[in-house]
Symmetry: C2
Subunit: 285 residues, 2 copies
């Protein structure tokens, strides 16, 4: 079996490493010469080929590039694969690519998915075998994929030790705006704000503790990956940001008024996130 992974960065590279036992040949496709070289040197892929060649000879094609280029490339891939080949994408927004796939005559060869895993690092060097371990992957519009394609992708996620849930693309993008995309914005913005004020980076380094490190960690994430996600999930994210800014202004007013009781009440409510987080952390462990 031949698998092509388009985009051998953190996600694509980790998929390649995680699927090693699952097949015979992994081909990498990448625009970035440095990433191509690294993917070969690190033994992440067996070969690097141009997209045109790789697509024709593969049984499974995984699209692991930013969501805007994934959308653009999908019709070309579906046009050029063999009859029985399966194409899966792993992007963080699903409605856009599902809308494009729906118009294609080979829609049934495609599976729209989103494995919820990542780190703030990027490139083949950031890839590691257990990135997906015990995490969740979402498959959208499964009724539009053939049983053959769906089974292959489910098998792939099983090999990676992921749980699978199914949902339509629209609620996927709405929920993910709140539980993933929003926290990236708050983190990027915190990083920006701290850097603007604390011109002397040595001050931040000296004074900040593990609290800032954890809250601002996602501000290290790849702009190449995230700019297109924000663009594609713009409407949902805009609503999430409105809700967040509203709560933030409420909190600020309480602080301006030095209203201890109201601040206490607000934080007590936020504390309820603990049981949710304990679940996530136990899951990750």
């Amino acid at each position: 079996m031949t698998i092509t992974i388009i985009g051998v960065g953190l996600i694509g590279g980790s998929l390649a490493i995680g699927l090693r036992g699952f097949q015979t040949r992994i081909i990498g496709v990448d625009n970035n010469d440095k990433h191509k070289k690294e993917a070969i040197e690190l033994g992440i892929v067996d070969a690097v080929l141009p997209l045109e060649e790789a697509v024709k000879i593969s049984d499974l094609i995984i699209i692991a590039i930013p969501v805007n280029t994934a959308r653009k490339i999908l019709p070309y891939i579906l046009d050029n694969i063999s009859q029985e080949a399966v194409v899966v994408d792993v992007g963080s927004t699903k409605l856009g690519i599902c809308n494009i796939a729906r118009k294609h005559i080979r829609r049934k060869n495609f599976v729209a998915s989103h494995p919820i895993a990542g780190t703030e690092n990027s490139g083949p060097k950031a890839a590691f075998s257990t990135l997906f371990e015990n995490k969740l992957s979402i498959i959208c519009e499964k009724e539009l994929s053939s049983d053959f394609a769906l089974n292959m992708v489910e098998k792939m996620y099983n090999i990676l030790n992921m749980k699978i849930i199914y949902m339509p693309a629209e609620p996927h993008d709405q929920h993910i705006a709140y539980v993933s995309h929003l926290s990236h914005i708050t983190s990027f913005t915190l990083g920006l704000t701290v850097l603007e004020i604390e011109k002397n980076e040595k001050n931040i380094f000296n004074l900040a503790g593990s609290g800032l490190a954890s809250t601002v960690r996602l501000a290290k994430s790849s702009p190449e990956m995230w700019a297109p996600i924000f663009e594609q999930n713009s409407d949902n994210l805009s609503q999430a940001l409105d809700a967040y800014i509203k709560n933030l202004k409420k909190f600020k007013k309480i602080i301006d008024n030095k209203d201890n009781k109201a601040a206490y009440k607000l934080m007590k409510k936020a504390n309820n996130i603990r049981k949710v987080l304990d679940g996530i952390e136990n899951n990750i462990k």
Copy 2:
């Protein structure tokens, strides 16, 4: 030597455990009956006494309670200690308590400090011996403490393996607003917003990854501890929040306009936080 720790929670409890080799007797003072019992049962303190008794017989008194009650209790403590006793506070805001101490005839017996360490957990059960290890403690207005008092507190932080830096109270509170207090607000607010929208907590649990877990971790923090900090650092924090909200609105506008290039540029700037964080994380390790 007898040490009294007022407030045997996460910070006070961890101080008690960390200072074990340093003295002969550790006395705990706490309003909370459950915490008193736990501190004895866990062997964190040798005895629990009422404040009045503990203060009179101690060589070192550590104030590790919320910053509003710390301010209130300080004059009483200074009034009732023996001539040579040393009092130190470990609160996250310094100007308020320094202003109060400055008026006291025994100012020189007092050291205003802020060991930068903590977790999102609270109470004696959350205490652990290495909380302070390789972290930084700030001492404010050291010129108003006697050499004897300053030496004792420096020795205490050395035993805990902390580095010490010195700064006036006002810049301390300003810097800490940005590098610590602000990130607590953004995290509490993120927790609130996600909980409001995702009424079904199982959804959050299912869909959120390690990114949300890290960004929202501080939303688990103790409201009892943080409400008074926000109140006391209200002015600085209000400025920090204004800057943060301004950046957030700018980011939102970019997302509303689907302006990929501007989003990319903003995130690239925020990425500079990486070198700062790498420093913090190496420091923590």
